[in-house]
């Protein structure tokens, strides 16, 4: 018997993975959570049927959303992570000794519990003493913060589900307000390829551009996400993502990475012409 998981990447496009066995299924207060094992991608976490991460390509996403801002900002001490209940981003962040505090705001405790149990290699650092997990609505949490963080990482699901509120102007505004005067916000910004995703990506970019003085988009190749092509937003009050990249300082840390390199950092901000055009339209 063949057992396949399929996800729509566009109304007329599907991405499928053969499934070895199902490990976990639960309907939480917010969403349907599933974890299953596949021959090609290892274990896979899906929320409402959308792939959040796979063991095979998780490193690309988590490295790119973490090391890009960390190699630009000279002194990150306090970090706020939104979503990311799987622990992948936290795993990368805890490799930096300079970071003293990581506040993780996740709406759904069931995601964290499931990942601790079934994806321990990814969720392994959620118990680090610097990490504090808040199960709360992120808007509510951040609204109370004023110039408290150096870095905010928004690791949300796509803008059409329970994370809708994290793609809004009010959300970016309160993030701005929660960042110190040289703070950086990085967010996953979807894909520019399929129409539906592209429009959401544009809307999101427009709102960030209206909120932060510096706002750039960078890219990575992530096989299990729509079109295999994913974008991140780099929004900042002071530092430029390329001009303020400090290669020497980052290299001195001696961090071993599998996707991120300082060279790739610079290249990831060089965007294809069609994407540059889409971004210009809303800037």
């Amino acid at each position: 018997m063949e057992f396949w998981f399929s996800e729509y990447h566009a109304p007329d496009v599907k991405h499928s993975m053969r499934v070895k066995r199902n490990l976990f299924s639960q309907k939480s207060e917010y969403q349907q959570i599933d974890i299953f094992e596949t021959p090609e991608f290892g274990k896979v976490l899906t929320l409402d049927g959308n792939v959040m991460l796979t063991e095979r390509d998780e490193f690309i996403y988590d490295e790119m959303i973490t090391h890009v801002p960390m190699s630009v900002h000279p002194n990150v001490v306090d970090v706020l992570v939104i979503g990311a209940g799987d622990g992948g981003v936290v795993k990368e962040l805890t490799r930096y000794e300079g970071i003293k505090r990581i506040d993780l705001v996740e709406m759904d405790p069931s995601v964290t519990e499931a990942c601790k149990q079934f994806l321990p290699d990814i969720a392994c650092k959620l118990d680090d003493p610097r990490v504090k997990i808040y199960y709360d609505n992120a808007l509510r949490f951040i609204r109370r913060k004023h110039e408290e963080y150096d870095l905010i990482i928004v690791d949300s699901t796509d803008p059409f589900g329970p994370s809708e509120g994290y793609f809004t102007r009010e959300f970016y505004g309160i993030c701005y307000n929660a960042l110190r005067e040289d703070g950086i916000m990085v967010n996953q910004q979807g894909s520019p390829f399929y129409k539906h995703d592209a429009e959401a990506m544009q809307r999101c970019h427009k709102r960030i551009v209206n909120t932060f003085p510096i706002s750039r988009v960078y890219q990575a190749h992530i096989p299990t996400y729509a079109a295999g092509y994913w974008l991140f937003g780099f929004a900042s009050k002071k530092y430029h993502p390329v001009k303020d990249l400090n290669v020497e300082r980052w290299k001195e840390l001696g961090l071993e990475t599998n996707y991120y390199t300082p060279k790739l950092h610079v290249g990831s901000f060089c965007l294809p012409a069609y994407l540059e055009k889409m971004l210009r339209e809303v800037e």
Binding site: N137, R143, G165, E170, F171, I174
Partner: protein
């Protein structure tokens, strides 16, 4: 046992059931409407859905007739009356405007006096234009800080009744758009003691009949008639409404009045939405509105914690002009952050994609209901916090007064039909207005037909226009000119 019987009866939805049966019979239509269950208008059917089109049908024996209900509509009305604690309930398909007008036309004739607060909805004064009754206004108290009209004080109503013993009815907003209630029970008693009817505009009060810890409903207070907007807090389709009557009013007379102006082709979409919503409210209303109250209370706390804003609630209650407060209403005073309510309303829509009910000079109102979730409330609160951070100004120079005492020169009907001329706004001072001027929403007239135009009123209209209020009423859509009596 009583409760069990009630639940059993209220679990029925006769119009909905009849439509289901009708659908199963697969009747071939050689009657109106001409779209024939949607087949004749594929574009509309694709847009609204086959389900919807197949029940958009004409009155017929198995589906009863709204003009003279004897079977399933009658049953639905009886269940509606039971759920609301009324002697009878009429299903209405012309909006609560038609319920309000039927209420006034059922009790007032040409030349009759009706006692009412000035902050009534335009539909009430429209009814006076139709029937020629004369308004006796009880000036509502104004909260100076919030700049909103409150309820009627008992003493003021008593005075109006004393001075106008020949009046036929007293009309009460229960509650106002902002959620403020007068002492309805006392007003009902005063009206009845003087031989007058007591009418309630409950456009914003459906939930008073079903929630816990709510202000008293008109029927429970003994009022004679009430217009209830089921489509507001009750969850039915826009334009559906209910008219309730008590024991002292003749059902047959009211039906005749309704049939003067109501369509003979009542929409089954609207009627079934009333039927299904009534069932839901009767069976689950308590639970639903407890949730709405919790959300509203949470939002009030959070908005007040932002600073600058004042989301007001039950603390306003003063035993008279604010006899009670509707806890589901989320009204926020914005003047202290230096922005007019209408400016916050525009910012929320244009910059944050959040549509709220209305903004006036000093306040905004966000409508909470059955359909809301906490995650959207977080967006609203955060957007308000952002608006304060980015746009706050010095509140000096912002107008706060919302209520201007009207001087009634002649009846609304007389003024509406009189010989008139059009004058530029500023030249109309001292003349008698022959039309309405209002911000919509909330749709409470600044000027009504038959009222004297003063400098104060003209200043207010210009200020409201400047701040971006959407003004309606006059013949001139830009409101540069106004019609006055010759």
């Amino acid at each position: 046992m009583d409760k069990e019987q009630f639940t059993k009866r209220q679990s029925k939805a006769p119009i909905y059931d009849a439509l289901q049966r009708f659908r199963q019979m697969r009747v071939v239509p050689f009657d109106v409407p001409g779209h024939k269950h949607g087949k004749g208008n594929p574009e509309l059917t694709e847009f609204l859905g086959q389900q919807c089109m197949s029940i958009d049908v004409n009155s017929m024996k198995p589906l009863d007739n709204l003009c003279h209900p004897i079977s399933v509509i009658r049953e639905a009305e009886d269940l509606m009356a039971e759920a609301f604690g009324a002697a009878h309930a009429f299903l209405m398909v012309g909006g609560t405007t038609s319920s309000v007008q039927s209420m006034v036309l059922s009790t007032c004739k040409r030349g009759d006096k009706i006692i009412l607060p000035r902050n009534v909805h335009r539909s009430v004064i429209n009814a006076l234009v139709l029937c020629g009754a004369i308004p006796i206004y009880v000036n509502p108290e104004v909260d100076q800080r919030l700049g909103i009209s409150l309820g009627m004080k008992r003493e003021q109503v008593a005075k109006a009744i004393r001075e106008n013993p020949d009046a036929v009815a007293v009309l009460v907003n229960n509650p106002t758009y902002y959620g403020i209630c007068s002492d309805l029970k006392a007003i009902v008693k005063m009206a009845h003691d003087a031989g007058m009817y007591c009418l309630a505009d409950e456009a914003h009060g459906t939930h008073f009949y079903f929630g816990e810890n709510m202000p008293i409903s008109a029927m429970a207070a003994g009022a004679d008639m009430s217009a209830v907007s089921m489509h507001k807090s009750g969850g039915s389709l826009t334009q559906s409404s209910v008219l309730l009557i008590g024991e002292r009013v003749s059902e047959g007379h009211v039906r005749q009045i309704i049939n003067l102006t109501q369509t003979t082709s009542g929409s089954y979409l609207l009627m079934s939405s009333l039927d299904i919503s009534r069932r839901n409210l009767a069976l689950r209303g308590k639970e639903v509105f407890n949730k709405v109250i919790n959300m509203a209370n949470y939002a009030r706390e959070e908005i007040n914690a932002v600073g600058g804003y004042y989301a007001f609630g039950k603390e306003l209650i003063n035993g008279d002009s604010i006899f009670d407060f509707d806890p589901t209403k989320l009204s926020v005073h914005t003047r202290e952050i230096g922005l007019a309510g209408i400016e916050v309303y525009d910012l929320l829509r244009d910059e944050y994609d959040i549509q709220i009910e209305f903004g006036d000079i000093g306040n905004i109102l966000a409508y909470l209901s059955i359909g809301d979730r906490f995650q959207e409330l977080e967006r609203l609160v955060s957007a308000l916090a952002e608006i304060r951070r980015r746009h706050h100004k010095d509140p000096k120079g912002l107008l706060s007064q919302e209520y201007i005492d009207p001087e009634v020169v002649c009846s609304p009907q007389e003024a509406f039909y009189a010989n008139k001329e059009s004058l530029p706004l500023r030249q109309s001072e001292g003349r008698v207005c022959s039309e309405f001027v209002m911000c919509y929403p909330p749709g409470i007239p600044i000027l009504s037909p038959g009222e004297k135009i003063t400098k104060e009123i003209l200043d207010y209209i210009e200020y409201a226009k400047l701040k971006g209020c959407s003004m309606t009423g006059p013949e001139d859509p830009e409101i540069k000119n106004i019609n006055v009596l010759k």
